[in-house]
């Protein structure tokens, strides 16, 4: 069973969101997602300054078997992207909720956070996927 921290919010396409409390959020992919993809060999991170809409493809995580889009859970401008992933994509496998973060986004509509899944709801999504 994968690790699903309770303090985070989730999107059903397996992204997590951490509310930093200053109008920004940090986004990454879940432990379940990194396990399902297998060893990552490349991560394409979004450009800083890019304006994203919720649900828009904003990054690509590539393993030896597939390249998958990462969808932005919220709308807003990218304020930072994790450059360390360019040389070391395996950080996402090792620490998906910490050093393996993908982007930081300044929320243009904080109310969108309410529409995301709580850890318990996301756990149901993962259970369904694993069945």
């Amino acid at each position: 069973m994968s690790n699903i921290p309770t303090e985070l919010k989730y999107r059903k396409s397996h992204e997590w969101v951490r509310d930093e409390g200053d109008g920004t959020v940090t986004v990454g992919i879940s432990d379940h997602a990194q396990q399902a993809l297998g060893d990552l060999v490349f991560v394409e991170i979004p450009e800083v300054g890019r304006e994203l809409s919720a649900g828009e493809a904003c990054a690509v995580v590539e393993s030896v078997k597939a390249a998958s889009d990462v969808y932005s859970p919220v709308s807003g401008a990218v304020t930072a992207a994790n450059d360390a992933l360019a040389g070391s994509p395996e950080i996402v496998n090792q620490d998906p909720y910490g050093a393996g973060w993908i982007a930081r986004i300044r929320l243009s509509d904080p109310a969108e956070l309410d529409g995301l899944l709580a850890a318990s709801q996301y756990e149901e999504v993962v259970k369904a996927a694993e069945d």
Partner: protein
């Protein structure tokens, strides 16, 4: 196993299993108006003996002309061993095998090919080939737009001295994918790209600059200055090159301060015979940082579980069988047979042999230009340094001259006014190492006669 695997009994069994009475009923949801009917205009079938005779007669109509045309496809000598080896059963397939790793020999050939192309162009990585040089340029433009994420314009600067067929194919393939292809003018006296044509775009968002070396007229562009201008302006550089010329010229990986970003070209000069325009093959090499945006197949060398070296398709995760509509390209294959020929050709010649081919072609073209420009009514149109092609200006319309030469079994060159009306009566000529001094003398004699007749008329 028969070539068509389904017998009538098989078909009947399958139809019965799904409860359909006939093939027609299987497709009855397709409106009658949309169905293909019997093909009109197809003559009755011939026997093998009859069709063999017909094709032989048609082939003889081609004659065996002396070829003095290049313009993107070149009549080089192909050692007999090349196609003798290519047509061995172990190699003789046009496709990359779908269970690729089962065919280690095929993969090794492609790997060696990639290594040779990377070395020839001075770039770190090559793909397994594309359909031809023209579509390779279109793919390179699309690749540049994907790779250059800071550039939002998708603007490609394309000099008018790039092979006009390549430019047209690039428009056809990439033009509908929101690329803005801007033509950079060329100088009517020199045949070279106008440097100021680039400067007009200074400070604007340009995604990539295309440079062909030698250009379509056979002339040498100032590739160092253009590469540096492009990089100074935040644009990527796509080089279009003739592989034979790279035996003598500085590789694109060393142009300017940093080298170019993507290199493409037509591989036909490397062991592929002229054949009514194809099949040929395109090649593509790149900087390592752009490899994930490179279309097509890439073969890598790795170690198996027992630590033994082996070959494998790599970086497949972005191809269409995995990535669907978001694939880097719809190219999921390569020109395997022609790549095999090119690999054997380059292996047989070696670096020194390819250099001799290039130098001999250059020398023959110089002799050709000297012989033809000694005739009244023929002059060299552009004075600059060039590689194995030259633009000649005649004092008579080119098309009738070419037709009269054709009647004497000489293909005299390429009529430039079909793409460049402003060039008037000009002819692009080429001689490779296969043209002897006697061939050149025969051409000069024929051209002298034809031009004299034209003046008399």
């Amino acid at each position: 196993m028969p070539f068509i695997p389904h017998t009538e009994a098989d078909v009947a069994e399958m139809l019965a299993a799904i409860g359909v009475s006939s093939i027609d009923e299987l497709f009855d949801e397709i409106p009658a108006a949309l169905r293909s009917r019997t093909l009109a205009g197809i003559p009755p079938a011939l026997t093998e003996m009859e069709i063999g005779r017909l094709m032989q007669e048609r082939a003889e109509l081609d004659g065996r002309p002396l070829v003095f045309v290049g313009a993107g496809a070149y009549d080089h000598h192909v050692p007999a061993a090349v196609w003798q080896i290519v047509t061995r059963g172990e190699f003789y397939s046009a496709y990359t095998p779908y269970q690729a790793e089962a065919s280690q020999g095929t993969l090794q050939v492609v790997y060696e090919f990639q290594t040779m192309m990377a070395s020839l162009t001075g770039m770190p990585v090559a793909n397994a080939s594309l359909y031809d040089g023209a579509s390779a340029l279109a793919e390179a433009c699309l690749m540049a737009v994907r790779a250059h994420r800071r550039s939002k314009s998708a603007r490609i600067l394309m000099p008018g001295t790039v092979n006009p067929v390549y430019a047209a194919v690039t428009h056809a393939i990439a033009g509908n994918q929101n690329l803005a292809i801007e033509v950079i003018d060329w100088h009517r006296d020199t045949g070279l790209t106008v440097a100021d044509g680039f400067k007009a775009w200074s400070g604007q968002d340009v995604t990539a600059v295309v440079i062909q070396q030698p250009n379509f007229f056979g002339l040498f562009e100032d590739v160092d200055a253009i590469t540096n201008w492009a990089h100074d302006n935040g644009a990527l550089v796509i080089a279009v090159v003739n592989p034979t010329s790279l035996a003598l010229l500085k590789p694109p990986g060393e142009w300017g301060r940093d080298g170019v970003d993507i290199v493409v070209g037509e591989g036909q000069p490397l062991g592929v015979p002229l054949s009514s325009g194809g099949p040929y093959f395109g090649f593509m090499t790149s900087r390592m940082e752009h490899v994930r945006q490179m279309p097509g197949r890439i073969v890598g060398r790795t170690l198996d579980l027992d630590g033994k070296p082996g070959f494998t398709l790599t970086l497949q995760a972005r191809e269409q069988h995995i990535r669907r509509t978001k694939a880097t390209s719809n190219i999921c294959t390569n020109q395997g047979l022609l790549v095999t020929a090119a690999t054997i050709y380059m292996s047989l010649l070696g670096a020194a042999g390819l250099e001799r081919v290039a130098a001999a072609s250059q020398q023959r073209t110089r002799e050709l230009v000297d012989a033809l420009t000694a005739l009244p009514g023929v002059r060299l149109r552009f004075p600059g340094a060039r590689f194995h092609e030259a633009v000649l200006e005649l004092d008579a319309p080119v098309r009738p001259v070419l037709e009269a030469l054709g009647a004497r079994n000489i293909i005299g060159g390429y009529e430039l006014s079909q793409h460049y009306p402003e060039l008037g009566n000009t002819l692009l000529v080429c001689a490779t190492e296969t043209r002897t001094p006697a061939d050149i003398a025969a051409y000069a004699k024929a051209l002298a006669d034809v031009l004299q007749n034209a003046r008399a008329a």
